[in-house]
């Protein structure tokens, strides 16, 4: 598939869909946009901001002040512009995917480019979230942009994109470690031939410092925009304290709906710390291929972060396309696919039965989020397995690779 031919066709198709399919049901769908990524809430925040009411004085608005200032001054949120803007972001994301692939495979262009772009643009999880105008589309684009810059060795741009991403969604800060490693060692695939990470500690410190400077300046800019620090507890605080228990395909919302009040702080700490635990072991074990660490870590975030939308696991699934060398070593791809099919049928169905129809209860939707969690977990474990198994080469008759 020729990339220069595929991309315009797919983008044109996407534009057609996004302008013809303008439905309220999509816009308010809990699976496609969570409180910190909801388009309606962004509109509300911009409305309040324009009417000189601080949107962070209430509990409805969880978006970053950067988005607030962007959409209240530069780009107006309207039904004429927004679908195009969201499609544009996805196109940018798809292009970044292709450039990451080119950097990793050291090819100027390949027959795979078109496939990768199409896999990103036509992934139903990503497509639907983008139709719902969820700001997780921006997060995905920033993530891919950051990786793409990092793969090409443009450290400042990569770290700036990462800082903006962190600003929009706090858990993404965990991606800083593998991206710094990626900037030091490069995107080439060493999965099949592991080598020790040879990094210059001074360079790593410089990169980390640069990232922190960007993050701090964004924080200061936000503080100036929103005239005070009220935005911090409402944006970052929301992803740590989970004040809004609106259902989403993740695991946090029902857990903390049903939580005993005196255990709430404890489990909030456990759930937040749980995300941090994975960073160091993954970085150590996959030190030869930081791009793969970023990929796995993003998968973990997509499964276990506080306010996920379908776009987050969608991004993880689409980025599998960047690692074709691991495919022969996947243990249960069919099971994973079936779990995903199962979950993606159950999620909207049970959501409607509970909140729309009223004939189901909350447990129905909770059960489907569990299935979805299992599907994401299965994909994650299988990719981690394949990434490690590949180092032992193809299967030799009479021999088996096992863990001690």
């Amino acid at each position: 598939m020729d990339y220069h031919y595929v991309l315009p066709v797919v983008v044109a198709g996407r534009l057609l869909i996004s302008y013809s399919l303008h439905s309220d049901a999509l816009l308010h769908n809990h699976q496609l946009s969570s409180p910190p990524t909801s388009y309606s809430r962004l509109q509300e925040g911009v409305y309040l901001f324009k009417n000189a009411i601080n949107p962070y004085s209430g509990g409805l608005f969880h978006h970053s002040p950067l988005l607030l200032s962007l959409f209240s001054t530069v780009i107006p949120l309207s039904s004429a512009i927004s679908p195009a803007l969201w499609t544009l972001c996805d196109t940018l994301g798809a292009h970044c995917m292709v450039s990451i692939w080119r950097a990793r495979s050291k090819l100027e262009s390949s027959r795979r480019d078109g496939l990768i772009a199409a896999l990103y643009l036509l992934n139903p999880y990503i497509l639907l979230s983008s139709l719902a105008l969820s700001t997780s589309t921006f997060e995905n684009a920033l993530y891919l942009l950051s990786l793409s810059f990092a793969s090409q060795g443009s450290s400042s741009q990569a770290l700036l994109c990462l800082a903006i991403l962190t600003h929009l969604s706090l858990p993404s800060a965990l991606l800083a470690a593998p991206i710094v490693m990626l900037l030091i060692s490069g995107p080439e695939s060493y999965l099949a031939s592991p080598k020790a990470f040879t990094g210059d500690a001074r360079k790593a410190t410089r990169l980390c410092a640069e990232y922190l400077v960007y993050a701090l300046s964004l924080t200061m800019i936000s503080t100036v925009i929103s005239d005070g620090w009220t935005w911090v507890p409402k944006t970052w605080g929301a992803s740590l304290l989970l004040p809004d228990l609106t259902p989403n395909p993740g695991l946090w919302w029902y857990f903390f709906t049903e939580m005993f009040d005196h255990f709430r702080p404890f489990f909030l700490v456990v759930f937040s710390a749980h995300l941090v635990i994975y960073v160091a072991p993954l970085c150590i074990k996959f030190q030869h291929d930081p791009l793969y660490v970023t990929f796995l870590l993003q998968g973990i975030l997509a499964t276990f972060k506080p306010y996920p939308t379908l776009a987050d696991p969608g991004l993880f699934l689409s980025t599998i396309a960047l690692f074709p060398e691991t495919y022969p070593y996947l243990r249960h791809p069919i099971v994973t696919v079936l779990l995903h099919v199962h979950a993606s049928l159950l999620l909207p169905l049970f959501h409607h039965l509970w909140l729309g129809q009223g004939s189901g209860n909350a447990n129905f939707f909770y059960a489907s989020t569990l299935v979805f969690g299992m599907a994401n977990g299965a994909a994650l474990i299988d990719c981690a397995w394949a990434g490690l198994r590949i180092a032992f080469g193809e299967k030799v008759p009479g021999h088996e690779v096992v863990q001690k």
């Binding site: 308010h28 809990h30 309606s40 509109q43 509300e44 911009v46 409305y47 309040l48 009417n51 009411i53 949107p55 004085s57 209430g58 509990g59 409805l60 004040p243 809004d244 228990l245 609106t246 259902p247 695991l251 919302w253 029902y254 857990f255 709906t257 049903e258 939580m259 005993f260 009040d261 749980h274 635990i277 072991p281 993954l282 074990k285 973990i300 499964t303 909140l355 729309g356 209860n361 909350a362 447990n363 909770y366 569990l370 969690g373 977990g377 994650l380 474990i381 981690a384 490690l388 180092a391 032992f392 030799v396 008759p397 009479g398 021999h399 088996e400 690779v401 096992v402 863990q403 001690k404």
Partner: protein, 562 residues
């Protein structure tokens, strides 16, 4: 010698204490009014004035309070007012819905269904305003046996433009602030009336208060009690306890007539008057354009109002009003040609799902003049507004210019309620529709009430008409018109709207509920999933991969088979 010093000491003490004693005055009043639909609206009012008394200054809260001596003023209420330094307070407990379209304006504005409490208190540094507000509502909850303790931060707002003080506010070092809260699901019942009666000097044994018969009052179509504390700089501290009820005399009459008497309405008559009262007056609104008979002969009848002085009737008083020409009462089939209120307001919450809905408010201005009103909406945090979807329409035409200003306090999840207070201009004789999308939040399972599936009562919205200045072209009086044939509309045109606030009915919102039996299951199942993923991933990351030769066994097996 000892005796005389003791007497002197006592007299000195008496003089000293009498310095804090203010003269008190108690008066009682009952008004009865026949309504268009055959019902009878009654209002009992018991007013105690502590002359020249001043509400306690909040700065003096750190010091010991002066001793208070009351003779008629209810001590338990007085203590509450003093210990929380409350300048003005209004508590209403109502049951049922006041039907403005059929009954017109109530005599007392506070007809919100459920409990409503608002207080003006001076700010102070010694004890914070919110602490005193909390103390006040808890003390009143104890005094009136009502669940006013639930009027917490999640219900409290401060709509100071709409709930202006009804009395005067003394000048203290810091300004006065308003606290307002409503609890729509609170109902008034006998257990609230008993402490109410205990606050009266004659209890319910004599005077007008003896008509307060719980069996009859709580059978009324609409009933509610109110406690108003105000300060008038010319009079002193005024406490008014009132009880309003709308009786359906047709329903309880055997011949389906609308005739009523005290015996019929209250099951009692006034046997003796309350000697503590300086005035004890009963007022009956007399019907117009219909033949009627009233007995006994009123003390005075002026402007269609018959007055009785209870103290003049020693042998017992049972006022009765009859329509002798009427066989059975015929309910009016058509609404009144001229609306009974200047404004009509309806509010509905629509939307099929449990996650969002639409709030539609329509306000009709029945006046031939443009009017300005404040619309006050206090929503608990779990119903959140999307203000960007707010549309104002008149006859389906968008008229966003009618919103002249907006004061909006955003809700905080699990905390503060919304206060939405737009100032609207209402064109003459037209209906303004305000629609807006709302989001219904998801609550923690402990936040739901015991019967969660019933839904949540949402407090009534309030429409507060504002005093309007006349349009500039009509500031000159109409004397210049040559003939006296002034058009009717014009002569009606410049009357000020009735400034009494109007309450909407309560709403019931259906919130999504979690499964209340699931906490352990959810903790177990979610934790299992996380533990599985965690365990399997760390298993992969920590255990070493080895290549195991499994061939010999296979070869041996093959050899055996050969």
């Amino acid at each position: 010698m000892v005796k005389s010093t003791l007497a002197a000491a006592i007299s000195v003490w008496l003089v000293l204490t009498s310095a804090h004693c203010h003269p008190e005055r108690f008066s009682e009043h009952l008004s009865l009014k026949s309504l268009r639909d055959g019902r009878v609206a009654t209002r009992f009012s018991f007013k105690t004035v502590v002359q020249d008394a001043v509400p306690r200054a909040p700065d003096s809260l750190a010091d010991e309070d002066d001793a208070q001596h009351y003779t008629l003023f209810p001590l338990s209420l007085g203590q509450i007012l003093r210990s929380y330094a409350v300048t003005e307070m209004h508590l209403t407990l109502n049951s049922g819905r006041w039907d403005y379209t059929r009954w017109g304006y109530p005599e007392e504005a506070g007809v919100a269904t459920g409990a409503e409490l608002w207080a003006w208190m001076g700010d102070s540094e010694t004890v914070s305003l919110d602490e005193r507000w909390k103390g006040l509502r808890n003390a009143l909850a104890g005094l009136f046996c009502a669940s006013l303790g639930s009027l917490d931060e999640r219900r409290t707002t401060s709509p100071s433009h709409s709930f202006k003080p009804e009395g005067h506010l003394p000048k203290y070092s810091q300004p006065h602030r308003l606290r307002h809260a409503t609890l729509p699901s609170e109902n008034v019942c006998t257990e609230n009336l008993t402490p109410f009666l205990k606050l009266l000097p004659c209890k319910s044994s004599s005077g007008i208060a003896s008509l307060l018969n719980p069996h009859k009052l709580f059978d009324a179509d609409w009933h509610g009690m109110a406690i108003h504390v105000t300060w008038d700089k010319n009079e002193g501290v005024v406490v008014e306890l009132s009880f309003q009820a709308v009786f359906d005399s047709v329903r309880t009459n055997f011949f389906r007539k609308r005739d009523w008497s005290f015996e019929h309405l209250f099951g009692r008559k006034i046997v003796q008057h309350c000697t503590a009262a300086v005035a004890s007056v009963i007022e009956v609104d007399l019907p117009v354009d219909v033949a009627y008979s009233i007995s006994p002969e009123p003390s005075s009848a002026l402007n269609g109002i018959a007055k009785y002085d209870v103290s003049a009737f020693s042998g017992g008083l049972d006022v009765s009003l009859k329509w002798p020409g009427e066989e059975a009462f015929a309910y009016p089939l058509h609404p009144p040609t001229q609306p009974l209120t200047d404004f009509t307001i309806t509010r509905v919450l629509t939307g099929p799902t449990q996650s969002r809905g639409q709030l539609s408010i329509s306000i009709t201005n029945n006046l031939p003049d443009e009017a300005t009103v404040l619309y006050v909406e206090t929503m608990p945090w779990f119903v959140q507004f999307y203000l960007h979807t707010m549309r104002l329409t008149v006859d389906r035409r968008q008229r966003d210019d009618l919103l002249s200003s907006l004061s909006y306090t955003l809700p905080i999840a699990h905390g503060r309620p919304t206060l939405f207070e737009p100032r609207l201009r209402l064109p003459p004789n037209s209906t303004v529709a305000l629609t807006m999308e709302v989001v219904k939040s998801f609550l923690q399972y402990t936040e739901h009430p015991p019967d969660a599936q019933r839904g949540w009562d949402l407090p009534p919205a309030v429409l507060v008409p504002l005093r309007t200045t006349r349009p500039s072209n009509s500031t000159t009086p109409n004397v210049s018109t040559t003939s006296d044939a002034t058009p009717l509309t014009q002569s009606l045109g410049h009357r000020q709207p009735n400034l009494q606030r109007i309450y909407t009915r309560n709403l019931l919102v259906d919130l999504a509920t979690p499964d209340f039996s699931m906490p352990y299951n959810v903790i177990i199942m979610s934790s299992t999933l996380i533990a599985l993923a965690f365990g399997m991933l760390f298993n992969l990351l920590t255990r070493k991969f080895v290549l195991v030769n499994v061939a010999p066994r296979v070869v041996a097996a093959e050899a055996v088979s050969k």
